[in-house]
Structure formats: C-alpha cells, structure tokens
Amino acid sequence: MVYKFGNRVRNAAIALLVGASVALGSAGTTSAGTDIAGKKVIFIPIAMGISLTEGWARRMKEDAALHGYTLEIRDPAFSSSAMAELLAKAISEKPDVLVVHNPTVQLLARQIKQAEAAGIKVLQLNLQSNQPSSAFVGANWTRIGHDVAEDIVKECGAGSGKSGKVAIIPGQLTAADSVMLNDAAFKVFKDHPEIQVVSNQASDWEPEKARQITATVLQQHPDLCAIFGHWDVHTMGAGHAVKDAGLEDKVLVYATGGGDNVTCKAVEDKILDRVWSYDADGQGRDAATMIDLLLQGASAKDGSMLSVDSPLKIIKAGPTYDPSLCWKM
C-alpha cells in the first residue's frame, strides 16, 4: 500500500510561488537563472558520504549549475564542534543563502539567529533547530511519529495477541527528528497502555551501536513486538540484530529515512519491515527550489518560516512491496 500525499506545499510557499512567477512574468524574462546567477550558497550537512546528504547535494548542484549560482559544501564529518565552526566561517563569508542540517535542535540555534540578523537567509534542511529561520524543507516528523505509532498500536496493541513491547532507537536524543518523533509517538502510546516502551537509547546514528542496543534488548525481552528506529541507516544495525536472533518474522522493524535503493534492499532482505521514506531525492529538489526562491528574495509576509513538507512514501515488506518507491544515486 502506498500513501501518496503529493506535494504539500504550505500556503505561504504557494502564495510565494505564484507571486514569484508573477514577478518574473512582469519582468518579461523567460529564464529563472538570470537574476540569481553569481549568488553564493553554502551547504553544511552533518556529514557527507551518506545517501541522504549526497542525494540532496546532487539535486542542489544540478540546480546551481542550471541557474549559475555557486554552491559550496563544507563537510564536518559528524563532528558537531567542527560544524559550529564551519558555520561561523560561512557566516563571516556572508553568502546569500546558508543551508544547514541541524544535528540537534540547540547546537546551531544561536548561529542561525546571528546569520539571519546579518541578512543571510538560512534554509534548514530536514532537521530543524529551536531557532526558526527563513525557510525549512523536510519531513513532517510529527506526522511520521504519529503514523508509525498508530501502525505499531495496530500491530502490537490490544487484540493483536502480541506483547506490546516496543524498543525505540533514536539517532540522537536532541536531534529534531528524535524529539518530534518521540513526542508524537508517546502521545499515541499514552492512549494505549498495553504498549510498553522497553528501551529508548540513542545510537548516535551508528548501525553498530544500534545493533548492540537491540541485541541487549532482545535478550531481556525475547517477546519484543516492534522496533522503532528513527533513521534507516542505523536501524539496519538493529534489523541485523533481530535477524541474528532469528526473530525477523516476529519483531517488526520500523524506520524512517531518505529511501534510496539500499533501504529497499534492506526491506527485501527482511532487515527492515516498514520504512516511512521522506524521499531524499525529492527533498533535494524541493531544497533546490527553495534556494531559488530565497535567492529571488522570497520571504513569508509575517516573517515566519517558509516551510515545505516532504511527501512521504511508505515502503512495506510483504505482497504490496514496490521497489520503485526507492530512488537510486
């Protein structure tokens, strides 16, 4: 089964698209690239070398080449202190747009504020900060958390005949996705006392750590019903632990992720069972579009954050499995 939400662009963004096209039309230009050529965009991800960020970077680079603005990528390689410093340097270079991928809701908050104050538009990609900025493109974590929790309740809750035990494996407790996913999920679980969260330990985004956590949890709770991993990459470690314990048919492994073909392969191999994909490839394109708009001077009328929710694809093992839901690098 596939849920297609379509492009859910919030009102402000729609209004803006319309406004922008009107503006462009009145200027009588046919190419969007002419007035943003030569502008400077800096992208600071948590780390390069993972499908998520590489997928975004590919689309943004294509867009930069098309429209003639420059896109520079600075790679802190999972080091949060390096990231903060890279951002400081980037701010002092005064680019037109900064694209940041917040590892936690707090780390870059002050700097985002500082950048916005200096007139740099900050686009937050997929993971939000406590500090709002010009724009956000990314998954609607609250919705995902809610939907996954509902699904878990359906599979493990009253009447399912299962234990109701759930293990949650966040990437980092203070990362935006984990904060919101947990928030939403616990709200759902609160109405279903039969669901029991037996573990909520962060993996630091590492598959190996997720594997160890899962192996321990499975020893303590062999009747575990579901695992909710917040990111597919590290959750694969958890899936392997389940498989190693020979429980792949009994424990449901849930994850969210960018949904590249590695994820589909994991579903085929019964490492993951259900993945809520926010489609990194599509996010890359959304981000590129948002960059274009920001470079053209777009902003929300009331100064609030322009926001684009990524459409979701649900990749599920079983007879409805559809490998075309995944994208390839």
Binding site: A47, M48, G49, E72, I73, R74, D75, P76, A77, F78, S79, S80, S81, A82, A84, E85, L86, A88, K89, S92, E93, P103, T104, V105, Q106, L107, A109, R110, Q114, N130, Q172, L173, T174, V179, Q201, A202, D204, W205, E206
Partner: protein
C-alpha cells in the same frame, strides 16, 4: 735600564671591527636553543602560506576572529596535556574530562539555573576532580600514567554518556539565556574573542610557570629524570599529582568555554578523539613525545599547524574523510622531516661550525743564526723539577721567596716550596683549568681559569671569582658575554688586570680547532678591582695569548699565537688599538714575561713549518680536511716541540733557547726568570724545567720588578 718604546712609530695592526661570515651565522643560529622548533615553525609557515595562496579572505579579520573563538578550547587542552607530558606522564582522559566539564557547565546553567560565576566554579571543580583522580592514582600511588588515564578516560566517558542521555533533551529545550553566558561564548573584548583571551592568559601563565616558578622547574626536573629529581630532594609524587590537577583545571576551563559557546553537547562526539588531537599537536610541536620540556610556544605552534590545516581543508569543501587522510599524511611528513632534522642538527652544526679563513703569518724574520739548526739546544741542560708531580703547568710563577706556583689539569694551584722544589702542596682548589698567573700588589695570585674566568687566590688558599663575563659584542648571534677561555693576564701599575680570552668559539679541550679556523676569535679584556667592572679592551684578535706589562709600565705586550706575532698596546690610549711589537716569529708564541735585563722572554708553544703555513693559506682545504679526514690524520701545527726566545726591550730577538729533539721539555708555554734562573712550564708537561742563566742579574725577581723590592 728599560728601553724607551716609540709606540707611534710601530706598524699598526689591523683589527676587524666585526667578523661577518654567513657560515658562522648559520652555525651560531644552529647552536641556538630555539632552533629545535624550526621545522614545526616552518611547517606552520608553509601551512599559512599555502592557505593564503589557495583561499580568498581566509585571513580576513572576521575569520581570524572565528578561528580565535573556536580554537581556544582545543589550545587549552593542548596546554593541559603539555603540563602532564612535561612531568613525564600522559593524559588520555582530557577528551572525556572536556566533555564532562562541558556537561557540568550546561547542567549547572540550564537545569540548576545557577549564576554564571558559580557555573564556572563548579565546572573548574569538575575538571579538577578528574585531575585529582588521575593525580592520586598515577602520581601519589605511582601507577602507570597510560593505564590510569585510560581508565579515567573510559570511566568519565561512560559517566558523561549516562548523565548526558538523561539530561540532554531537557538541556537542549531550555530557554535560559544570560548576558554574561552569551558574552563569554560569543562576544569579543578589544576585538578578540573571550575564549582567545583565556587561551592567551593561560599560555602566559604556563610560560611563566616553566620559566620562572619553582613548581614549573620541579615538573621539568621530574619529567626529565625522575630519579635525579628525587635525589635532588624534589617531592616527585606530589609534583606529578599537582601537574595532573593543574591539567584537569585547565581542561575544566576549556569545557566551560566550549559549553558557553556551543550551548549544547553531543553524546556522540563532544571530546571524542580530542586526546589524540591534542597529542598530535604536542608531537608536531615538540618533535616527539618529550618529557621534561615545557615550551607552550612550540606546543601551540604544533596546535596551530594542525588546527589551521584541518580547518582550511574542511572549509575548502573537501570531504571529511578525505581531509583526515591528508591530515595524517601531512603530519607524518612534518614529523619525518622534523625527526631527521633534530637527529642531524648536531652533525650539521659540527660540519658548519668550523669556519676557516686564509691566514698568512708572513715569513720568519730576525732569526738569523738563531734557528734550531744553527745553534746548540740550550734547554737540554735544564734541570727537571717535580717530575711526575705536576700535571700541565701552563704557567709558572715565583714569589719573592722563590716558592714556585703553577696550575694543574685538576683545577688546583700548586705550591712547590723553595729551595729544594721537591715539596709539592695544593694551595687552592679552583676547578676549571688554571692557565696564566700573576701576583698583584698585595701578593695574591690572580689566575686565568679556562672555562671559569678570572680568579683571585690568597696565600691562605681562599678563592674568589673576580669576573666571568664581559659586555656582549655588537652583531653577535651567539651570546658571547661569558669568558670562555681566559688564558693569560698581567696587572697594570694601577691594579687593573689585563687578560685575554683566547677564543670565544672553542673550549680548552678543542682550542686546536681555533688554529684550523684561523679567525680572530679572541679578545683582550680588562678588570678593574676597584669598580669590579669588566671591559672589552680589544675584540677580534687572533688567539691572544700571553700578556706582559712592559718594564716601563706604560705598554702591554700581547702574544697573537696563530699570527706568530706580538702586539703592543699603549695603556694610556687603549682605544687606538694594537701595533706590532714583533712579528715573523719561527713558532707560535705563548706567554711573555719580563727578563732581568730589560728584555722579554717569549715561550714558543710550537714551531711553524712550511707545510702547515701553506695549509693555513687554504681555508677550503682545511674545511674539507676536517669534514672528511679523521682528526688523528689532520695536518696540524707542530705543537709538541718549542723553545724560548729572548728579546731586547724593543722587540729584537737576541737569543733562543731550544729544546733538543728528544726533549726534555717539549711544548713550552711559559717561563719565569728568578734570581738568575729560568723556570719553564708546559701545558702538557708533567714537570718544570730550571735553567741557570749565564750573566743574568742573580737578585732579580718578578714581584720586585712589578711591585718594588719586597722583604
């Protein structure tokens, strides 16, 4: 009786104002202590130039401020590690301690809501607590530093992970702000970020600690040699304990700055790998893992090198793992060059130190009928005194009673009692290598001691250092204030002591290299006992050796050994420089002393020969020889046979006393006339010679000649 010396009519001796030689400058620089950090410094320079060439506005003021702001906590951790390593330990727990301190700061600020000064105090206490734990186990209990800090590293990291997992969400959703907190984390004072001020302050304190403070010296002593430090009375364990404590405090401060700046921590990466980053910085700066070395400047040079390299590469947009590969490669390259350089520096120094120049002493003059092949060897008639009981009497001197005094190789002044000259006793133990001797007006011996300076010895054996340094000469790379090889002296009528520092570049053990160099490396100094001031009378003389006040008390004779000449100074006009009293000697003149007939005795320590005269004219030959040929095979001056010349009062050679080819006195470096006899000493001899002089004044003594008849 003394002849009238017409100073103005004598030929002037040219003395260079300063000696300029690129090779010498290189050698002098290589001998400097700070040259140790050349390669780290050059590496930093290369990194800076490389960054400047490949980037735009990396060194813009805004980015320099960023760098200063973000590097401060790393720099502090490097300094903390430096202190522990200097004490001979190692601290692997700095990264964990750093993370824990940052957590404590954030916890105190966001959860407990304490005022910022209290947050700082508690954070420092937390850092110090880890330092104390390390200090107790590694210092006081004496367990291995590596094992101990590995243990604390893991324990503290686990504590941090537990605590952070529990509190992190609450910390990151806290909305508390505080002006002082933000000021520390983000603001600048005099356009320098607050963190950087902390780093600067701590660096200066560490510098002062290792330079000036007793505790710093104790740390270095313990790190340099634990056993020796213990024997020296240093409380080793306490010192190590305090070093860890201090390091913990500094790490605590670093954690506090980090927390104030980032306002967040991450269980996954805060402080992870920091111990290795700091160790790498230290190794790059110090050229290895060297205990007993407390140099914050070099450590920070190493830190700046790898920090900037890393930062610039990341900023250039290279992938993180790619950057790490390059970092590794570049660090290995720097270390390889550095280790090679340090290993070979002394060789490079040795091969550049000797800096020969062409030297032409001119042909032998005024020796007609007086050369060894033209006359009898008069010294073969010398009587041998104290044979085997004196070791190296470079100079000999006699008091009014005829008692003989000389220095020896053990650093003593010996007294050989008249009249039998069989009773040898030690008058005074000085140390060093006593060379020239003179009696002052009060009957005390003043002696030049190579390696020490000018020393005065009373007849009771009391030793007093008069001077061991003079003013630094202009344009010298090496500090040449120390008197390196005080050689001979004489005392003017007003009590001023004139003495020679034969060479500023070589010690007593390798003065021979000064001959191979053939440069004017020596100087004539004076010491005024009334003002106790030492003055450089004339710099850049060619191995100034023997000094003798002329009979009229108005001039000073100074032997220039390698020039085979004797110079004369006018005491009334010393600044006019020397003139040539006598040149073209057949050998290398050493000490000069008065003769009873108004003339002078000149000791020849060795004889010239045409081959070596030729060698001295070819500096490149000498340079190649000293580099490629073992010292035992070098061409060298003939310094094992000599004699004594007698001149009249105006510098004409009138007689020569030669040794026979088979001795008995060989290298003669000094002679004194006393009541019709000539006493002969040699710097390598184990005896003193006495030769009866025909027709000499049998009542003449040196002290009487200088200070009037006594007794």
């Amino acid at each position: 009786m003394s002849a009238q010396i017409d100073f103005a009519s004598l030929p002037k001796q040219h003395v260079p104002l300063w000696v300029v030689s690129p090779r010498r400058i290189l050698a002098d620089i290589l001998a400097k202590g700070w040259i140790e950090s050349t390669i780290p410094f050059l590496a930093l320079l290369c990194v800076l130039v490389g960054i400047a060439l490949t980037t735009n506005d990396y060194f813009s003021p805004a980015n320099l401020q960023n760098l200063a702001q973000y590097s401060a906590d790393g720099g502090l951790v490097v300094l903390a590690l430096l202190i522990v390593v200097a004490a001979g330990g190692i601290d692997l727990s700095v990264g964990s301690n750093f993370a824990m301190s940052a957590f404590v700061a954030l916890y105190c600020f966001h959860i407990l809501g304490l005022p910022v000064p209290a947050v700082l105090a508690l954070t420092l206490a937390a850092g110090a607590a880890v330092g104390i734990a390390n200090g107790i186990v590694a210092g006081l209990l004496g367990c291995g530093a590596l094992l101990t800090t590995l243990g604390t590293m893991i324990t503290v990291r686990a504590l941090f992970a537990l605590a952070a997992q529990a509190e992190l969400v609450e910390i990151s959703t806290s909305s508390r702000t505080d002006d002082l907190w933000d000021w520390i984390g983000f603001e600048k004072f005099l356009s320098v970020p607050i963190g950087a001020w902390c780093l600067i302050t701590v660096s200066v304190l560490v510098f002062v600690l290792f330079r000036q403070l007793r505790f710093g010296w104790h740390i270095l002593a313990v790190g340099g040699n634990r056993k020796a430090a213990r024997h020296g009375g240093i409380p080793v364990r306490t010192t190590v304990f305090l070093a860890y404590l201090l390091a913990g405090l500094i790490v605590g401060l670093a954690g506090f700055l980090f927390a104030a700046r980032q306002n967040s921590i991450s269980v996954a990466d805060t402080g992870i790998g920091m111990e290795f980053f700091a160790l790498t910085a230290l190794v790059v700066g110090l050229g290895g893992f060297v205990p007993g070395k407390g140099s914050p400047v070099t450590a920070l040079i190493g830190f700046a090198t790898i920090y900037l390299l890393n930062n610039a590469m990341i900023n250039a947009g290279y992938r993180g793992d790619f950057v790490q590969i390059w970092m590794g490669g570049i660090i290995i390259l720097i270390l390889t060059i550095d280790v090679r350089f340090r290993k070979n520096r002394h060789r490079l120094l040795a091969s550049t130190y000797l800096d020969p120049v062409a030297l032409d002493a001119g042909s032998v003059q005024g020796m007609n009928g007086l050369m060894p092949n033209e006359m009898e060897p008069k010294l073969s008639a010398a009587e041998i005194l104290a044979s085997g009981r004196v070791d190296g009497p470079e100079d000999v001197i006699l008091d009014a009673e005829g008692n003989l005094y000389c220095g020896n190789r053990n650093g003593c002044i010996l007294k050989i009692a008249a009249p039998a000259y069989t009773d040898v006793s030690v008058l005074a133990k000085i140390g060093g290598r006593p060379l020239g001797l003179a009696f002052d007006r009060e009957g005390r011996i003043v002696t030049c001691v190579a390696g020490m300076g000018l020393i005065r010895v009373t007849m009771e054996g009391a030793v007093e250092l008069l001077t061991d340094e003079t003013s630094r000469s202009l344009f010298s790379v090496q500090d040449d204030t120390a008197i390196r090889m005080a050689d001979d002296l004489d005392i003017g009528p007003d009590g001023t002591i004139y003495f020679t520092d034969a060479t500023k570049r070589y010690d007593i053990d390798n003065w021979g290299l000064d001959l191979l160099e053939g440069r004017p490396n020596g100087r004539l100094l004076s010491f005024d006992p009334k003002t106790r001031k030492t003055r450089t009378v004339c710099d850049n003389l060619l191995f100034p050796n023997g000094v003798c006040l002329t009979h009229d008390g108005k001039h000073l004779l100074v032997a220039s050994t390698w020039a085979c000449s004797i110079l004369i100074f006018d005491l009334a006009r010393l600044s006019d420089g020397p003139r040539v009293f006598l040149n073209g000697l057949p050998g290398y003149p050493d000490n000069i002393n008065r003769a009873s007939d108004g003339g002078y005795w000149v000791a020849l320590a060795g004889m010239r020969n045409p081959v070596f005269d030729k060698v001295l004219k070819h500096p490149e030959l000498r340079r190649r020889m000293t580099r490629r040929v073992p010292p035992t095979n070098w061409l060298f001056g003939n310094l094992n046979i000599g004699g004594v010349l007698k001149t009249d009062g105006l510098g004409k050679v009138v007689d020569a006393l030669w040794d026979a080819p088979d001795g008995p006195l060989y290298m003669i470096t000094s002679m004194r006339e006393h009541e019709g006899s000539l006493f002969l000493g040699g710097v390598t001899n184990d005896k003193i010679g006495r030769l009866a002089l025909e027709g000499a004044d049998a009542r003449w003594t040196g002290p009487a000649s200088y200070w009037g008849r006594t007794g």
